[in-house]
């Protein structure tokens, strides 16, 4: 092993040396300038210059608040809401004599609400703080004064410190890699926490420092790093190392990022470059865009309406008050002498009636403030958090296999789930499992592999005929699998069976040498890393993508076992077709021309034992065929046919090719390539791509691979249900059109009875133009062609208007970019909306986000994006709701999503059940909140009208302030958390019911105004029935009459009964919790009246003994209350019958 390594080191020295020299010139110009001013004195923490720089410590705090800022900052946050500011101002004004009630009675509920929110914030922040404390106190070994490594806490780490990190430990800060336990200074890093990718990444130390292997070598180690300032770019680093008098360029290859983990490497030594909040990962921690639900936005409008009502009635009252007051003194004589208008203050001054009216206006604003529900926001927040818990707890959305329950990560979008109009879905990993299986391949124009894919079966079912034969035999897939199992070689990612090539039989094929080359490419052209299980000797692979893993595994199964990779070599156990022996071959890896979505291919340049230089390449057919050499196209026609067939079968295809390189050619190219790679300019990638492009040509075609990405369980059924619920589903995928269409059929997104509208630029004329390369002409022809196709689609749609045919729209990426760029957006959207399903193929991540925005803006309806990979993040953030699939492709999509589910099929339950419920719950809750406050607030107003608009509240101060907080809010919360209009089972059985949310039928202005009107009517009933039935005659046998205090209590109890009974009527799902809260609230209000009334009259003022003494003949009052309520019941019932009886009937039967 060591031998292998040292040869590797030797080579890598050569390699790095040339690299270094070339980089050096370019880089130097930027260091020290603006943006590149950081200076790190390595292993010299006491250097006065370093201390002078005052870089931040490694202490990290992700909390929103600190102990000091918690109170002011969280208060500030809360008072950014208009309603809260109003309540604060009202509370402040209540200290003035203008206030209609005592200051404490307004302050208490405000404080209760504010402290409830603050406690919630505090608890959330406390959790973050605990994590921070844990992170800050982790131990790391730092090279100290005693010239050995001592453990210290992360937070004490400083820039320039020399640290040692052991295997499976996290890096405490952004480190510059000096050396590792490997002699060539490489190490493996897992970056799951950063980008969610689970594969290991290799980092290389500089050769200059790679020799610093043990603790003692650092005794005299001193170096100077000059580099870029802290920034959030995870994929670049610019800097130089000044060591032993020499300048060395640094790149990302030498940087170990905080929060990534050391893997497969004994230990590494590094120098701290960025600490604490200056690390790249912390710089990256930006808040995701905050999303607000439609209902919440509408709620703001309702608040404004109520505000205007408030201002209006206050104004109205003030005018009356002003006039009455002014009339109180006429000709120097007092009219209402008992008010002493001649001896008055500013609040009641007939001589300055205008001013008095103004102050009264302020009083009115305070008094009618009960129209605004003070506890609305906090109640809704609590309810949403609880709803989120229920979503998390749902067993039917838990995926046993990966042990992943559903997670509601942002609770404020729950109700939005009930209004989704369009779903934009990724394909790979979302509709499919993203576990690639190697099923077929075409080598030398012959197709191998005789499995049958799900899509093929779907197609066969569609066509109603027998599957056409592929290869020479087509055994049933099941029996085929049985054979497979029996052989005991079942492994993930490999589902290939063909007796012609399996078990080493390929050597007998006529094209054996092509087959050998083919699998050799698969075994060499990748970036996977092998792991040998020490005990069993089994080899497993960690690859960047599941496709790649599938290839490596396929190569292994066919006799080309990749078993070791160093920085510069790849070693295989190869089956030699001539001798039939297994031999070990080591290939020197010269360059990796990496895969990118723009290049759509990857290559490696290797040197085999025979000193042959080989370029091995695999890539998408669209880019590969044009790169073939003239004499490399022997199998082109056959391969193309096979690729087409594979794509139709829903398989992902890649073309495999190679070429031999001449020494001279390689040398000259390499210089150019290294130059490009070494440049630090912004267009470095372009230069590298261009350089790569120069060598990746004149390829010789070997064949093509086909891997299957299986549909996830239950996807077709789920899509069908969602479609039945009237949700439009768009699939936005990077796949080829044929694959996408076939997946569309397999997932029942497209049905046979559908007509297809295809918009594509893959037409002969455009292709011809492309060959000529005239870009303007292409653009012109393309947009003309798209306009034509769109027009055609439109006419197709309009002609089919009467017939029940539904349409599927398929558009490819190129057309999409034209559609999104030009003014065709609306025309496109128009047909897209009329189609039942839309498939966008070949789309880039950016296009995904743009399509999402187009749908969101264009239709104004709620969009939901679902995806699993980093390429879906843009889409997830753009959509109203982002749903991440916590699948194979890491956590990045999940991190930026609002909800995380494990399987696509859970979407059905998430939307149809939880979405439906939450939408109903929140809507009802908001309605009810406004209703109860209007009902209460308006009784105050009616009373005012009978109190000369003087600003005297009808109720005792504390009755008023506790109304919202204690006597009416808990039942609403119970409604918001538990109510179910119909059971989960029925939601799923009748997906049509989901339409209610899509059309926003529940939370419509009609309903809102209806409920408001309901509130006003309630208040009228309560006020006028109460006053008319007890005034002014004796209200009981002993001749006593009702006074102000008694009337107040009566009305108050009436309001509480009415409002709570209305709640009872609105609830569809009565559990003991509802009973407890509703009747408990009513009972509690009685208890309160009793207790409060029993206090000394100084405290209880107008409430003293009222309930006990005056309202003792309770029976009387109860019947009266009941009566009002009943009146109400009818009312409500009638309204309901008109509005939604149809709907309810629809639901009823079920129950």
């Amino acid at each position: 092993m060591t031998g292998d390594r040292s040869s590797g080191i030797h080579f890598s020295r050569l390699y790095s040396f040339s690299l270094m020299r070339s980089i050096f010139r370019n880089e130097h110009s930027q260091i020290g300038q603006k943006g590149y001013s950081r200076v790190v004195y390595c292993n010299d923490p006491n250097n006065p210059k370093q201390l002078q720089l005052k870089y931040s410590s490694n202490y990290v705090s992700t909390t929103k608040y600190t102990v000091l800022t918690f109170v002011p900052k969280s208060l500030f946050e809360q008072f950014r809401r208009v309603a809260n500011i109003y309540f604060l101002l009202a509370a402040l004004l209540s200290f003035s004599p203008m206030a209609p009630y005592s200051a404490s009675s307004t302050l208490v509920p405000l404080l209760v609400m504010i402290s409830a929110t603050m406690i919630k914030e505090g608890v959330e922040d406390w959790r973050r703080m605990k994590k921070d404390i844990e992170a800050n106190n982790r131990k790391v070994k730092v090279y100290g004064r005693n010239h050995n490594f001592e453990e210290t806490r992360w937070k004490k780490l400083q820039v320039g410190d020399l640290v040692k990190v052991d295997k499976d430990e996290y890096f405490p800060a952004d480190l510059f890699l000096l050396s590792s336990s490997y002699e060539d200074g490489i190490c493996y890093v897992e970056t799951t926490n950063l980008d969610g990718e689970t594969n290991l990444k290799v980092k290389h130390a500089l050769n200059a420092t790679a020799g610093l292997h043990d603790d003692h070598s650092f005794l005299h180690f001193k170096a100077l790093i000059k580099c870029e300032d802290p920034n959030e770019d995870l994929y670049s680093f610019v800097g130089t190392l000044c060591y032993e008098g020499q300048q060395h360029p640094l790149s990302l290859q030498q940087i170990l990022l905080r929060d990534s983990k050391l893997r497969n490497t004994g230990c590494v030594y590094g120098v701290v470059v960025f600490t604490g909040h200056e690390t790249k990962v912390m710089q990256n921690a930006t808040d995701p865009p905050s999303k607000r639900s439609k209902i919440e936005r509408k709620m703001d409008k309702i608040i404004y309406i109520l505000f205007s009502t408030l201002v209006l009635i206050s104004f109205f009252g003030s005018i009356f008050f002003g006039i009455e007051t002014k009339n109180d003194i006429r000709d120097g004589k007092s009219k209402r002498w008992y008010l002493r208008p001649d001896k008055s203050t500013f609040l009641y001054d007939p001589k300055r009636a205008e001013l008095t009216a103004f102050f009264h206006f302020l009083t009115g604003l305070m008094l009618y403030g009960f129209l605004l529900p003070i506890s609305l926001y906090v109640s809704i927040e609590i309810v949403k958090v609880l709803q989120g818990i229920f979503i998390n707890q749902d067993q039917d959305m838990y995926y046993e296999e990966t042990d992943k329950p559903t997670r509601a990560q942002t609770s404020n979008l729950n109700e939005e789930l009930g209004q989704v109009d369009t779903i934009l879905s990724d394909k790979t990993g979302t509709l499919t499992c993203n576990s690639m299986e190697f099923v077929k391949c075409s080598i030398a124009g012959i197709s191998y592999g005789c499995g049958m894919t799900e899509v093929e079966r779907a197609i066969a079912k569609r066509k109603g005929n027998v599957l056409p034969e592929v290869g020479y035999t087509s055994p049933d897939i099941q029996s085929f699998k049985d054979v497979y199992m029996d052989s005991g070689k079942s492994c993930k990612g490999f589902n290939f069976k063909d007796e012609r090539v399996m078990n080493g039989k390929w050597v007998h094929e006529s094209h054996a040498y092509v087959i050998q080359k083919f699998f050799r490419v698969l075994a060499l052209c990748h970036t996977a890393i092998s792991n040998i299980d020490q005990e069993t000797g089994e080899i497993s692979y960690e690859a960047e993508s599941p496709d790649e893993a599938a290839f490596v595994i396929a190569a292994r199964e066919l006799g080309f076992q990749f078993f070791e990779r160093t920085q510069t070599t790849i070693s295989l156990h190869e089956l030699d077709y001539e001798s039939g022996q297994i031999i070990d071959r080591t290939y020197k890896l010269l360059h990796v021309l990496e895969f990118s979505s723009a290049r759509k291919r990857m290559s490696v340049i290797v040197k085999n034992v025979e000193n042959q230089l080989l370029l091995l390449c695999k890539g998408a057919d669209s880019v590969m065929f044009e790169r073939l050499a003239k004499d490399g196209r022997v199998f082109e026609a056959a391969t193309r046919d096979h690729i087409k067939y594979y794509a139709e079968a829903g398989l992902r295809t890649l073309v495999v090719a190679y070429r031999e390189l001449g020494e001279e050619e390689f040398k000259s190219w390499e210089d150019e390539f290294l130059d490009a790679q070494a440049s630090v300019t912004a267009d470095r990638d372009v230069l590298v791509d261009a350089a790569s492009d120069k060598i990746e040509r004149d390829l010789i075609l070997l064949g093509a691979t086909a891997v299957e990405d299986k549909l996830q369980n239950g996807v077709p059924e789920c899509i069908e249900k969602l479609a039945n619920a009237g949700i439009r589903i768009w699939v936005v995928t990077g796949d080829k059109m044929e694959t996408a269409i076939n997946i569309g059929y397999a997932s029942s997104l497209l049905r046979q009875d559908m007509e297809q509208i295809v918009i594509t630029l893959d037409t002969p004329e455009i292709n011809n133009l492309e060959k000529q390369g005239d870009k303007e002409a292409i653009a012109k022809a393309s947009s003309a062609s798209i306009t034509k196709q769109i027009r055609k689609g439109k006419s197709q749609l309009s002609s089919a208007k009467e017939s029940p045919v539904s349409f599927g729209l398929i558009i490819d990426g190129k057309s999409l970019s034209f559609v999104l760029d030009k003014n065709l957006e609306h025309a496109f959207l128009e047909i897209a909306i009329s189609c039942a399903s839309v498939i966008c193929c070949r789309s880039t991540p950016k296009q995904k986000a743009l399509v999402t925005r187009l749908v969101k803006m264009g239709t104004g309806k709620t969009t939901l994006a679902i995806g699993d990979g980093a390429n879906d993040v843009g889409m997830l953030q753009e959509a109203d709701i982002g749903v991440g699939i916590s699948g194979v492709e890491g956590m990045q999509a999940v991190m930026s999503a609002d909800f995380a589910i494990a399987q696509f099929r859970f979407l059905e339950r998430l939307l149809l059940v939880h979405g439906h419920w939450c939408y109903r719950r929140i809507s009802m809750m908001v309605f009810y909140f406004f209703y109860k406050n209007i009902a209460f607030g308006f009784t105050l107003f009616w009373f005012e009208a009978y109190a000369a608009f003087s600003g005297q509240p009808a109720y005792n101060d504390w009755y008023m302030s506790l109304y919202n907080v204690f006597f009416t809010s808990l039942p609403v919360i119970a409604l918001g958390v538990f109510d179910q209009d119909i059971s989960a089972q029925l939601c799923l059985q009748y997906p049509l019911l989901y339409q209610e949310g899509v059309h926003g039928m529940l939370f419509s202005w009609m309903h809102i105004l209806g409920w408001m009107l309901n509130g006003v009517i309630s208040s009228i009933f309560i006020f006028f029935f109460t006053t008319n039935s007890v005034l002014h005659q004796a209200f009981r046998r002993d001749g006593h009459v009702v006074d102000f205090e008694v009337l107040g209590v009566m009305m108050y109890v009436c309001v509480i009964w009415t409002v709570n009974c209305q709640m009872a009527l609105s609830i569809n799902y009565f559990t003991w919790i509802h009973h407890f809260f509703i009747w408990g609230s009513v009972a509690f209000s009685y208890v309160f009246l009793l207790v409060y009334g029993a206090m000394s009259p100084i405290i209880s003022t107008t409430a003293y003994q009222v309930l006990v003494e005056a309202c003792a003949p309770r029976l009387f009052r109860f019947s009266f209350v009941l009566h009002t309520v009943t009146l109400f019941k009818d009312e409500a019932w009638k309204v309901r019958r008109q509005n939604s009886v149809d709907l309810r009937h629809g639901r009823e039967q079920i129950a």
């Binding site: 004589k333 007092s334 209402r336 002498w337 008992y338 008010l339 001896k343 008055s344 009641y348 229920f390 998390n392 707890q393 067993q395 838990y398 042990d403 329950p405 009373f943 009978y946 109190a947 000369a948 003087s950 009748y990 049509l992 339409q995 209610e996 059309h999 039928m1001 039935s1029 007890v1030 005034l1031 002014h1032 005659q1033 004796a1034 009981r1036 046998r1037 001749g1039 009459v1041 006074d1043 102000f1044 205090e1045 008694v1046 107040g1048 799902y1069 009565f1070 559990t1071 919790i1073 009259p1097 100084i1098 003994q1105 003494e1109 019947s1119 009146l1127 009818d1130 309901r1136 009886v1141 709907l1143 309810r1144 629809g1146 639901r1147 009823e1148």
Partner: protein, 346 residues
Amino acid sequence: MSSGDEASQTLSKKSKKPQYSRFTQQELPACKPILTPGLVITTLISIGIIFVPIGLGSLSASEHVVEIVDRYDDACVPSKGDDEAAKRERLSFIQNAKTNKTCIRNLVVPKKMKHPIYVYYQLDNFYQNHRRYVKSRSDRQYRSPGSEGETKTCDPESEVDDHRPIVPCGLIAWSLFNDTYGISTKDNPIPINKKDIAWQSDKNSKFGSNVYPKNFQKQDPVGGGKLNESVPLSEQEDLLVWMRTAALPNFRKLYGRIETDLEANEKITVVIQNNYNTYSFDSKKQLVLSTTTWIGGKNDFLGKAYISVGGICLFLAIAFILTYVIKPRPLGDPAYLSWNQNSAAR
């Protein structure tokens, strides 16, 4: 559900699987009221059946109350008429402390009135619920002699010019109603019992039995009635009644009780001391004699309301029965969903 074995296995692996409970799975037992036609009709009918008798009972109770109402404010002043001069004359009459304000009213008892007969005075358009008025009191001062000086809230009737506090302070006390009534049949005076006309809680705790009026109505302008300074506040029941402010601008307050029966067609004479000024604002003063029943005084509203609600319920019930019979509709037909109907209409 997985078997016990599996469950324990998953537990041991510390699975993230949500624990099953009816609560977390939102499957709590619940009653789900559905408004089926049958339920609605039954409810309506039962409401009607309950309410109509209650209403009839209330109405008949109200019918049994005998009430005599006599407006005397316009009759007990020398000048009548609506012109300014008459108004001014009335005002100066009522404001002059020296004029004789005795006024005699003759009333006829329409039906037999059983004792106790309650005597009320009724004022209209008098804003006892005005904020300035309601707030102008000091519960502390009324309660204990030690808090005499707590008159801050009583403005503008808190203290006399030399800063001695007024007890009881405030506008309410200051504007105490002071008309008096003496009732007699032919020659026999009928005593009016003025004991226990105030609320017990007022007598017992709100007003102190050792707090005596001080400096009350000692200074111009004098508002309403004066108080006997040797009687503690808790015994001044007229004051206590007055201090319980009325809820609405038209109100009755208890004046006293007659403990004897009055026969039908009996003629009674009321001697009124018409002291109280209601002439500067448009008001009425009425004397009310009333018996009570279990619903209290005379009030048809309650009975009528019960009857009409009950009636409406019955009517609706019949209407629904008819719709149900004539045009029945199957339950749970999705075609009746309102959006389906909309789209069909389109």
